[in-house]
Structures are given as C-alpha cells and as structure tokens.
C-alpha cells in the first residue's frame, strides 16, 4: 500500500469517526426533574430517511398522539414480550412495593404485583381492582375494604386482610428502612401510638405489640380502616394499597426485610406475571401467572432488560425490545418514521417552572415565612418577568413542539382540574415594560432598570446543568429579561449540578433570587405538598392567607363535590397567575414507542386495559425496514 492510499484510508476513517461524533452529540436534556428519581440522559443514534409525519415547520403536537395502541393483526397464543428499562444505571432490585424507592424497580414491580385498588383517568380509586372500597354510611371516617376471593399470591396462598394490615404494621415500625411512612399512615387512627410503643420497648415484636387501633380485620378478606381526616385526597392516592405477604415475611425482623432474598431474589406478588429469574441490575424474566385473578394472561412471559439510553433507537429498530419504560422525547423527531413501532403519547404529569425566592423556611414552626422585603417581593416585577418570556418559542425551538407553554400550576395531565380557559400570562414584552414602569423600576442609561429606591438591580438566577439544552434555555430567559431591562445573572456565572442546585435552593441560599426547577406531579391534584404553607418543597417560601384558604377548601368536605372542587382550584390557579410566586414555563409530552406486534396496550391511567390482556401477533418483534 502506497503512502497516498494509506492517507486516503485514514481520511475515510476519520470521516466515519466524525459522523459518529455528530450522531452522538444530541443529548437529551436532563433538567433534573425532581421526584421522578432519575433523569435519562440519552445520546442519539443513526436515523435514515425522511420524516413522514413531519410538517413543514418540523414541529409536532401532543394532539397528534393517541395513548391507545392500534390493534393490527391476529393475536397468537402465548409469546414473550421484550420490555426495555432505559437507564444508564442498573436497577436497585428492591422488588417489593413496601420497600422500593427507585423508579426502575417500580417499573419491574408493575409487571408482577399490583395495588389492591385501581384508579380512573382522574386518579380516583375505582371499585374494579383486586379489592373494593366503601365509605361507611354512619361514620364517614370509616372505610371498608373487601378483597376479591380470587386474589392469590403467586405461591397459591390467598391474599388476606391480615397481609394488608401487616404492610401497615411493618411500614409504621420504627425499624422500617423505606421511605413510605408519612401522612398516609399517620392519618390512620392509632398508627402513631402503635409506632411509639416500639420506641419505649425495645425488642417488642409485631406479634406482641398492641395492634393499630384504627385497622380492624373483620374476616380473611375484609378490612375496616378508620381515618382521622377524610378529604377528597384520600381517595386519590392516599391509601396504602400494597399488602405484604405475612406467611413469608411474618417471622422476619423488620430491619432485615428489605435486603432479604424474599425481596431481592425470589420476590412475590399477585400480579399477572411471576418472577422467574433475576440477573442483578440488568434483567428480569417473568412467566405468566395462570392463576391471575382477572384471568389467565395472553402472553407466556415477559423479559425485562436494562438498555442504555444511547442504544434505545437501535434496540427498537432491530426488535430487541417491544417497548420501553421511557423514551427520550428529543430523539423522536429523527425517528418518527420507524416502520416497526407506533408512538403513543400523552401529557406528562410534570412541568418546568421558574420560582421566585420570597422568604425562608422556619424549621421550628415548620412553615414557610415570606419576607416582605425580599428582592423579588414586588408582584409587578414577578408578573413582568412572566410576560417577558416566550415559552412557546422555547418549546418549539428546543423541543420541536413536544413541550409547550405552561399556563397554570395544575398541568393538563389532570384534565379534570386544569383550567383550560385560563391563559396564564402571555408573552407580551410591552405589558412587562408597563408593569415595571408602573412599579417604579426606572430604566437607567445602561439599558437596565434600577429598583424603586434607585439602587442597582441584579437578579441572581439558579439553573441546573444537564443535557444540551440547559444552557441555551437559561441564556434565552436571561436575554428575554434583558429585553425588558432586567439584569439577570446566572448564580456563580454557571449552571449548578443537580445535588448542589437542590441543596442551595432548599436551604434558601440568600444568593438565589430566582430559580428554574421542575416537578413531577403525583396522582393527587392537591397542590398543598408543593405550594402549601407547611411544605418544605415549596422552595419559593411564599405563603399567604388567601392561598391557605383556597388550598384548604380544595380538600374540605364540600370538595367531595367535584364541581365545587373545580371551582376552588380554578380560583386558586387564577390567584397564582395574579400573585406569581412561581410560574410554569413548559408542559411536556411523554412518548412511548411500541412494536407493531403488540396488541391491547395503552399508556396512561384509567384506560381499563390491563397487562394480562397484552398479546402479540408473531413470535418475534417486528424489525424496521
């Protein structure tokens, strides 16, 4: 080989490598949404061909997606579904609802175990799960739960009321090392007293302890629970619905349960599939539970395996997996034309927001104390900052329309309570200028405004690093504010790493004036846990009496009437648009690709499609052509 041909070869190789570089550079934004546990950073792989669905502007809309899979073709008997967990960290393997904390464990658990109650599209418990519930007519604080007779553990033992009670006892035990003990439990009569007795009396076993006063096991399949306070929130996710198999865990020390082989190696449940084998951190195989209470599953089994975000698309194209637990939305535009999968979509239960620091957390009183002299305390200033930013542009430019302008603090993922008619504060820089002029923020010669006392005004903005879009988006906001004369600077001149960010925001670092965060919202619409006076998660530290009043009314007795509750929450949403302690920036879409061979599948809540119904049309997943 001569020198020239060698260098040609070298050049060609370099080109190939460069292409690979380009293909890998598109990283998902991981704007560190709290609570979801982990954010997936993905890198993008090849794509080919034109985008068939793509419109001229290259934008998509969540309205074009359905959350039900189209059924095409005849189901075959059996078949094994391949399910991908998209993560760059192995799953923890705490495979029991009572002990888990990671989202990936939850994804696995969903296949082989389930809660006693299911919920509808408005996240209210229904009576069509493994148990039914009924509120007592004489005493509204008493609920009676009846477990379906056909519900059995995978080993054939019946799921009993004892098991359900046992879960309550274990979680309330001081040695319990999970994170589930909280208001859901303390709201039950006698739980706190039950917990106390272990602290006074070491070595006391659950067997010998005084039982929880508020839980009565009527018979094998019936349990009565007395709650201290019954609010509409109780039936949207505040009941602990996961029993713990007493015949297995009964003799174990509470502290040893979460690390026991019964949780990690041979987990048990009563769902449509049973665990066959676990390869720690990478895969789980499941076979069907013929004795499943809803009926025998169509599939023979399910294989769940961890796949790295950088190869999701390849795995889907090549039929390595039928579906994944989460798909990096930013990889959608390049792969919308994959022929072997159908993309399902829905509005994610999450939103991104900008918060204003308006006070401090009072540790002793356990409440947020607003500071009337805070830099951001002027309402006009906050309203103006909302008017100054164009969030639809952010959604279009950075997310191809798969994120869009947020209007109120109850996202459209809660259709019953999200106020469609409330436009929030629209992009209107003139209005922003007007509001600022009105409040006395005078424009200086340098193009920046001073505060009403004539002092220089510099607003410090904390934003999280992660993904490619974090920095340009933060820059965009700062520029938009500069347009209306506000001098906004990045805290420390850079983006903050996830842990540092939340540490500083949580501890009310006086250097932070505004911050950009994100929340995943629970199924319970009640905003108290995020924006209430007594919530540590209310990082704005803003509270006022009107807000307290509205939030309380939203969970009052009258609020059992849905219309009344809607009114209250509409009023609250409007009040937040007026006060702007925080404003939503973008809502987001969650997309989920599913192989065409899969039938009877839907994403989202209240679809009345269950996992045992899933079927496939051929033995192997379809492959992209």
């Amino acid at each position: 080989m001569s020198k020239t041909s060698l260098s040609k070869l070298f050049f060609a190789l370099m080109l190939v490598l460069m292409l690979a570089l380009v293909a890998c550079s598109d990283e998902t934004d991981g704007d560190g949404e709290a609570s979801a546990g982990s954010d997936d950073n993905g890198s993008e792989q090849d794509d080919d061909g034109e985008d068939s669905e793509e419109e001229d502007d290259g934008l998509y809309s969540i309205d074009d997606f359905d959350n039900f899979k189209t059924n095409e073709g005849e189901a075959i008997d059996g078949g094994t579904l391949q399910y991908g967990l998209v993560t760059d960290t192995p799953f923890e393997g705490t495979l029991n609802w009572n002990f888990y904390s990671g989202t990936y464990d939850a994804e696995i658990l969903n296949w082989f175990d389930e809660g006693m109650l299911t919920w509808d599209e408005n996240y209210v418990y229904t009576n069509d799960g493994a148990a039914t519930y009924e509120q007592d007519e004489d005493n509204e604080n008493v609920f009676t739960f009846t477990i379906n007779d056909k519900v059995n553990w995978h080993d054939g033992e019946p799921v009993t009321a004892e098991d359900w009670l046992f879960a309550h006892e274990v979680i309330s035990h001081p040695d319990y090392d999970g994170i589930r003990y909280g208001s859901d439990f303390t709201n039950i009569e006698g739980v706190e007293e039950y917990r106390e007795q272990f602290k006074d009396n070491e070595g006391l076993s659950i067997e010998d302890a005084e039982p929880i006063e508020g839980i009565e096991v009527v018979d094998d399949k019936t349990m009565k629970v007395t709650y201290k306070e019954v609010t509409p929130s109780l039936v949207t996710g505040s009941i602990w619905t996961y029993p713990l198999a007493k015949h297995i865990f009964g003799d174990m020390e509470v502290a040893d349960m979460s690390s026991s082989p019964e949780v990690r190696e041979n987990p048990i449940g009563f769902g449509p599939f049973k665990v066959d084998s676990i390869t720690p951190g990478e895969a789980v195989t499941l076979t069907k539970n013929e004795d499943y209470w809803r009926g025998e599953p169509n599939l023979d089994g399910v294989t769940i395996k961890v796949i790295d975000p950088s190869v999701v698309v390849n795995e889907l194209e090549s039929g390595g997996v039928d579906m994944v637990d989460s798909y990096p939305t930013d990889q959608y535009p390049d792969n919308a034309d994959m022929s072997n999968v159908e993309f399902l979509g829905l509005t994610d239960r999450a939103f991104t927001y900008i918060g204003f620091k308006l006070g401090e957390w009072d540790e002793d009183a356990g409440e947020n104390v607003p500071d009337p002299d805070a830099k951001m305390a002027d309402k006009n200033l906050r309203q103006a900052m909302w008017h100054a930013v164009d969030n639809d542009a952010v959604g279009d430019r950075f997310y191809h329309g798969l994120r869009w302008n947020g209007t109120t603090l109850i996202p459209p993922s809660h259709p019953e309570f999200h106020d469609d008619s409330n436009p929030g504060r629209e992009y209107d820089p003139d209005k922003a200028n007007e509001l600022l002029d009105e409040a006395g923020y005078e424009m200086g010669d340098d193009g920046f405004r001073t505060d009403p006392d004539g002092n220089e005004l510099v607003i410090n903005f904390a934003s999280m690093s992660g993904g490619d879009t974090a920095e340009p988006i933060a820059k965009y906001y700062m520029q938009a504010w500069e347009e209306v004369g506000l001098n906004v600077e990045l805290l420390d001149g850079r983006l903050q790493e996830f842990n540092t960010f939340y540490d500083r925001v949580e501890e009310d670092d006086p250097d932070i004036d505004i911050y950009q965060g994100a929340w995943g919202v629970g199924i319970d619409v009640d905003p108290r846990s995020l924006w209430g006076r007594h919530s540590t998660s209310n990082y704005t530290r803003w509270a006022d009496e009107e807000n307290d009043r509205l939030l309380e009314e939203g969970v009052s007795d009258e609020a059992f009437d849905v219309e009344y509750r809607q009114e209250v929450y509409n009023e609250w949403q409007e009040y937040m648009v007026e006060e702007v302690p925080v404003f939503p920036t973008v809502y987001r879409a969650a997309l989920s690709p599913v192989n065409n061979r899969v039938l009877n599948y839907a994403i989202g809540d209240g679809t009345e499609m269950y996992k045992y119904e899933i079927a496939v049309t051929q033995e192997e997943p379809m492959v992209d052509e």
Binding site: L13, S35, D88, T94, S101, P280, G281, S318, N499, E506
Partner: protein, 320 residues
Amino acid sequence: MWKFTVRRMLIMIPQLILLSLLIFIMAQMMPGDALTGLIDPSVDPETIEQQREKLGLNEPWHVQYADWVSGAVQGDFGQSFRFKMPVTDLMMERMINTFWLSLVTLIITYIISIPLGITSGRYNDTWADQAITSYTYIGFATPLFIFALVMLWIFGFYFGWFPTGGSVKPGLEPGTFEYILSRFNHLLLPAISMSLIATVSTVQYLRNDIIDTKQKDFIITARSKGAPESRVYNRHILRNSLLPIAAFFGYELTGLIGGTVFVETIFSYPGMGQLFIESITLRDYSVVTATTLLFGVAAVLGTLISDIILSIVDPRIRIK
C-alpha cells in the same frame, strides 16, 4: 527480596490509612447526600429527616469515620443506601462481572498487541509497520466511548453477530454450560472493543523497545557469533523488550477490578466502574468509600506486584 516485599507491605499501612481518611473527608464535602435525590413532595420531610438520623448522616464526620473504620476492619462496609444490601455483597456481585470482562480484555489485548508489536519492531519502516503504526495513532485518537458505540452498532445491531447488552441472556440457569457460553458471548464484543483501543500503547512500547534493542552491542555480538535470526529475535531481543510490558502487568491487574465506566454503560454491563460513578452521583457514601478504598488498595498492590515482577525479570533493578 523478602525484605523488600515486607518493607513495601509495611509502608502500605499508613498509605491506606491516609487514603481512607482523604476519601472519607472528600465524600463528606460533596454537596447533598443520599437523600437529596429523593426530593419528592409526597414523601414526608420528617421521614427523610428520621432516615438521615438513622443513617448517622447528621453526626460530625469524625464520629462517622470512627464508625466506618471499626466496621471496615471487620470487613463490614455497611449497607448501600440505594441498593439496600451490604456493600461487600454488592461489590462482589459487580466485581465478578468486571473481573471476567477485564480478564478477557487483557488476554485479547496481549494476543493482538504482542505479534503486532514484534512485527512492527522487527520490520520497521516497511509498509506492514506503517499500517500498524497508523492503527495505533488512530487508536490513540479514538475515544473509547465512541468506538464502543460504533462497534456495538456495526457488530451488534447491523450484523447481529453479538448480543447488544447485559452480561448474560436473561432467564438461563446459572452454572449450566449454556449459561457460561452465553456469558462468554456477551463478554466478547465489549472486550474486543476495549482491547482494540488498549493494544495501542502496548504495541508502541514493544515496537520502540525492539527497535532500540536491535541496535544494542550485544545483538551485534550475537549476530556475529552466527546465531540464526529467529534466535536473535526470540531469545535476545524479545526478552529485553518485554521488560516495560512486564512492568505494566501489575497495573493491568488492578484494572481487572477497576472496570470502565463507558463500556459498562454502553453495553448495560453492571460492573465496578458503573457502580463507582453512580454511587458518587447518587451520594451512596458507603459504596463510594468502599469502592475508592478498594481501588486504592488495588493500585498500591499493583505497584508492588509490578516491582516484584520487574525484579524477577531484570536482576539489575533489584532493590537491596
């Protein structure tokens, strides 16, 4: 020799104490803790606080350190907060994966690099040498995480010759022949990807040393004695040129348990490298300290082994 080894071992003790202290203090200085990541408004803040208390995260660092040392001396590194299992078990699980991957990588690396290095050194400035040298330059310049992705794409997805992730086909019975075969099959692609990059330095060292040795006086002597060319190369030159490689062998051994983050992540292969990084990002302190300490011990031991090997192959550098 023995004296030397024992002395080295004794020096290790203060080294390790200092190391553990540094690791511990640095881990404490990281912002956030294992519970910061759990920001979830539906979890009671009091519960989180009680957990912190229970985990001893609110104690001053020297109290925590004392606790940790007393456990570590007995081989108990505590519980991983995230995995809710003893750190030692967790590390064993991952170390086995990493060990096999690294071992296969190491073997493939030597299989590829030694013949290439010898060819390149013996026939230097021929086209074969140039081809090999070009390969090493490209190898030097190619980042492993991209190379591994490209390899995975070509041989895993496009041709479908290798499995694309995991350490074994899900659902096989451990211990069976099929299981072992599947494990080996899963190892191959990541191992080949890593070795193709890892060989380059070995090839270069070997090549340079052979070229160097070729011109030494004793080689000329050997040749003038009439020793056949193959004997000159295999006995005289090679033995001397393998010195630096032997020296590196000790370090390579430490690599056996260290693992690599990129390859493990791309191939979804749970190993030590991944465990280490994720324990840092998720602030799983007990795992961070234990893994760093383990890596530290391995590095110190690796140096020792390297020195011992060197003194065996080359009597000149034996320390008195």
